[in-house]
C-alpha cells in the first residue's frame, strides 16, 4: 500500500480526505462530499465557470492551462453531444499523485466530473485510468456504482431534471495515451496516436463532439474550489497559480512521498525540509522538477525557485506534472539521461518521424556513450538531434524527449566528456544497461 506522508508546511485541500475512508460514499458525504455538486446544480453553468476562472486553477496534467478558460471555450450550442473526459492515464515518470486520489478520494473525481459536465452542458463523462491501475479502477467503479445507487448519477441527479452518466475506462499500457488527442483515439477503440490541432477538443473532440479533457488531479480539485470559493482558493497559491498542488517527491530524499503544498512553494525547502533532505547525508546534484520530460535543474538554480508554472518556466524548465525527482552526487547523469530517453523511445507511438527516429537515435547514441564508446562529436550530435525534434511533431512527446536531453547535455557536459575515449563511467555499476 502506498504510504501516506505528512508535513506541517502542507496545506491539505485536495488531500484532506486521504486516509479518512472517503472511498466509502457515506463517509464521503459525512465529510462534506457532494455539497459542491448541489451548489453547482443550483447556481448554473455561468456561475461555475466564473468561480473556476477566479480560482486561477491551472491544469495539473502538465501544460498548466487555466481550467475555467478551457471550459469556457466549449460552444454553448452543439449539434453533437458534449463530453467530459478525465485523464487518469498517469504515466509521466516521477508522478504518482493520481494514484492516491483514486485510492483515497474517488468520489471527488466523480464530483469534479459532474461539475465539469454541468459547466459545459455535457450529459456524459468518461474517467480513463491507465491499465496498470486495475485495483484503482475497481475502487473507481465501486464509487460510480454507489453514486448511481444514491441518485447522484443517472437521470435526474439529486432530484433535479439534469442527467449525467459516468463511464469508467481502462487503458492497456501506453504513456502516449496521456496526451489528450491520443486519449480520445484510445477511448474510441483505436491506436493511441495524436490528432492534428486545430481543431481543438473543445470544438471537435471525442466522437466528434465538443470535449473538455482534464487531468484527474484538476478534476478532483474542482469540488474544493466550489466549496471554498474561487477567490479563497486562488489566495492560497501564487499570482496566476491558484491553490495547492500534489507534489510527488521521489528519488534520493529521506522522506519521499506525495505532499500537498501551495503553488509557489520554494523548491529547496521542499527537498530539504518537507522531504527531509538528501538521503544518507549526501549532496544534491540535480533536480528534475516536474516529471521526466522537464529539463533538469542544478542546486544553484533552486535556491530562490518557487514551484509554480511561471517561475519554473522562467528558470528554463517546467512545472509539468509536479513530479520532483531528486538526484544525489553518486548518480551518473549520462546513465540518468539514457534511462530517461529509453523511456521516450519505448513510448513514442511512431506516428511522427522526428520523434520516432529521434528518440531511437538518441537512445542509441547515449547507450554507446555510457558504455564508453562515444566520440567527442557525439555530444554535439545528441544536441543537434534533440534540437531538431523540438516542435516538429503532432503532440508534445517529441519535445518531452528532446527537452530533458538538451538539459542534461548543457548542464552536465563535463560528465559526458568524462565518459569519452573508452574511460569507464565513474559511477558504472551495471555492465549492460537494460533495454526495455
Amino acid at each position: 500500500m502506498p504510504r501516506l506522508v505528512s508535513h506541517p508546511d502542507e496545506v491539505k485541500v485536495v488531500s484532506k480526505r486521504f486516509g479518512q475512508g472517503a472511498a466509502n460514499i457515506d463517509r464521503y458525504i459525512e465529510l462534506g462530499g457532494y455539497e459542491s455538486t448541489k451548489k453547482c446544480l443550483a447556481q448554473g453553468p455561468e456561475w461555475i465557470i466564473e468561480e473556476m476562472k477566479s480560482s486561477s486553477l491551472r491544469g495539473r496534467g502538465g501544460a498548466g492551462f487555466p481550467t475555467g478558460l478551457k471550459w469556457s471555450f466549449v460552444p454553448k450550442q452543439s449539434a453533437k453531444p458534449k463530453y467530459v473526459l478525465v485523464n487518469g492515464d498517469e504515466s509521466e515518470p516521477g508522478t504518482c499523485k493520481d494514484h492516491l486520489i483514486f485510492l483515497h478520494d474517488p468520489h471527488a473525481v466523480i464530483e469534479g466530473t459532474i461539475i465539469a459536465g454541468l459547466a459545459i452542458g455535457a450529459k456524459t463523462g468518461f474517467i480513463y485510468l491507465r491499465g496498470e491501475y486495475r485495483y484503482l479502477l475497481n475502487i473507481m467503479e465501486k464509487a460510480v456504482a454507489d453514486a448511481y445507487a444514491k441518485g447522484f448519477l443517472g437521470k435526474g441527479i439529486f432530484g433535479s431534471d439534469t442527467e449525467f452518466q459516468i463511464i469508467t475506462q481502462s487503458g492497456a499500457g501506453a504513456y502516449e495515451v496521456g496526451e489528450e488527442s491520443a486519449l480520445m483515439e484510445s477511448l474510441e477503440g483505436k491506436r493511441g496516436v495524436p490528432r492534428i490541432k486545430p481543431p481543438f477538443p473543445a470544438v471537435v473532440g471525442l466522437y466528434g463532439g465538443p470535449t473538455v479533457i482534464n487531468n484527474a488531479e484538476t478534476i478532483a480539485t474542482v469540488p474544493h474550489v466550489i466549496a471554498m470559493g474561487g477567490a479563497a482558493f486562488a489566495a492560497i497559491g501564487s499570482p496566476r497559480n491558484g491553490g495547492t498542488r500534489l507534489f510527488s517527491i521521489s528519488g534520493h530524499v529521506e522522506r519521499p512521498g506525495v505532499y500537498e503544498l501551495p503553488m509557489g512553494f520554494n523548491l529547496k525547502k521542499m527537498i530539504y525540509e518537507v522531504a527531509g533532505g538528501i538521503r544518507g547525508g549526501r549532496t544534491l546534484k540535480a533536480v528534475v522538477p516536474g516529471g521526466s520530460s522537464t529539463p533538469v535543474l542544478l542546486p544553484a538554480e533552486i535556491e530562490e525557485l518557487g514551484m509554480d508554472f511561471d517561475q519554473v518556466g522562467k528558470a528554463g524548465s517546467m512545472l509539468g506534472s509536479g513530479g520532483v525527482v531528486v538526484i544525489d552526487d553518486q548518480t551518473c547523469m549520462v546513465e540518468f539521461a539514457l534511462r530517461t530517453i529509453s523511456f521516450y523511445q519505448h513510448e513514442s507511438c511512431g506516428w511522427c518521424i522526428p520523434c520516432r527516429e529521434g528518440t531511437d537515435w538518441l537512445k542509441k547514441s547515449l547507450t554507446r556513450f555510457h558504455a564508453g564508446y562515444g566520440v567527442a562529436k557525439d555530444i554535439d550530435n545528441i544536441q543537434y538531434l534533440a534540437e531538431n525534434m523540438m516542435g516538429r511533431t503532432f503532440c508534445p512527446l517529441g519535445d518531452a524527449a528532446a527537452m530533458p536531453t538538451l538539459g542534461f547535455v548543457k548542464k552536465f557536459r563535463k560528465e559526458f566528456e568524462d565518459h569519452l575515449n573508452g574511460k569507464p563511467c565513474p559511477f558504472a555499476k551495471h555492465v549492460e544497461l537494460a533495454v526495455v
Partner: protein
C-alpha cells in the same frame, strides 16, 4: 454475438462483454478494455480471442490486431501465471531498481519477458508504474509491491508459490 452462442470466454466474461459493447456511443470504444479483460482470463491474445472480439465489436481481425499491437500490456503469447513487472524508470532506478531486477533474474533464472519452465512466473522490465514515491516498486499481475530491497525478492516469490499451491490443492 450473444453469450448464448459459442464463446471461448467464461459465461461471466461473455455477459460482461455483451453489456460493455452497448455502454458507449460506439461499440468499438469497448475494444481496449475488452482485450485486456480477455487476456486476464485466457492468459494472452490468442487467434481465437482476436477472432471473437472482432466478431463481437463488428470490425475485422486486422483492425483488432492493429490496435492490440499498440498497447504494451497486451501480449500474443502466454506469460507466467504470475507476471512480475519490475519498474526501472528514473525514480525506481535511483533507489536500486536494477539491483532488484537482477535479483529477480537470478532467483527465477530468466530474463526480460522470460517464463519459468513450470509456467509459474514470468519477468518483465517495465516503464513507470506510478509508484515513484514508494520506489522501487513492482507489480505482480495487478498487485503492487513497493519500498522493496533485493532482500524482499525471495519472500515475494514464496508468497505467490504458496498461493499457487493453495489453489492447486483446492481443485
Amino acid at each position: 454475438m450473444k453469450s448464448e452462442t459459442m464463446s471461448i470466454f467464461s459465461p461471466q466474461l461473455a455477459a460482461r462483454f455483451d453489456a460493455l459493447v452497448e455502454k458507449y456511443p460506439v461499440r468499438r470504444s469497448a475494444l481496449v478494455p475488452m482485450l485486456l479483460y480477455a487476456q486476464d482470463e485466457i492468459g494472452y491474445l490468442s487467434d481465437a480471442v482476436i477472432a471473437e472480439i472482432a466478431d463481437r465489436i463488428g470490425i475485422t481481425q486486422l483492425d483488432v490486431r492493429n490496435v492490440a499491437t499498440y498497447y504494451s500490456m497486451l501480449r500474443f503469447k502466454p506469460a507466467g501465471k504470475y507476471n512480475v513487472q519490475v519498474c526501472t524508470n528514473i525514480s525506481c532506478m535511483l533507489r536500486g531498481a536494477y539491483d532488484l531486477y537482477e535479483r529477480f533474474q537470478d532467483e527465477l533464472g530468466i530474463g526480460h519477458k522470460g517464463v519459468t519452465k513450470d509456467g509459474l512466473f514470468s519477468l518483465e522490465e517495465v516503464e513507470c508504474i506510478g509508484a515513484c514515491c514508494w520506489a522501487p516498486a513492482i507489480q505482480v499481475n495487478y498487485d503492487f509491491h513497493d519500498d522493496l530491497t533485493p532482500q524482499h525478492v525471495t519472500g515475494i516469490l514464496e508468497t505467490y508459490r504458496g498461493r499457487a499451491m493453495a489453489e492447486g490443492s483446492k481443485r
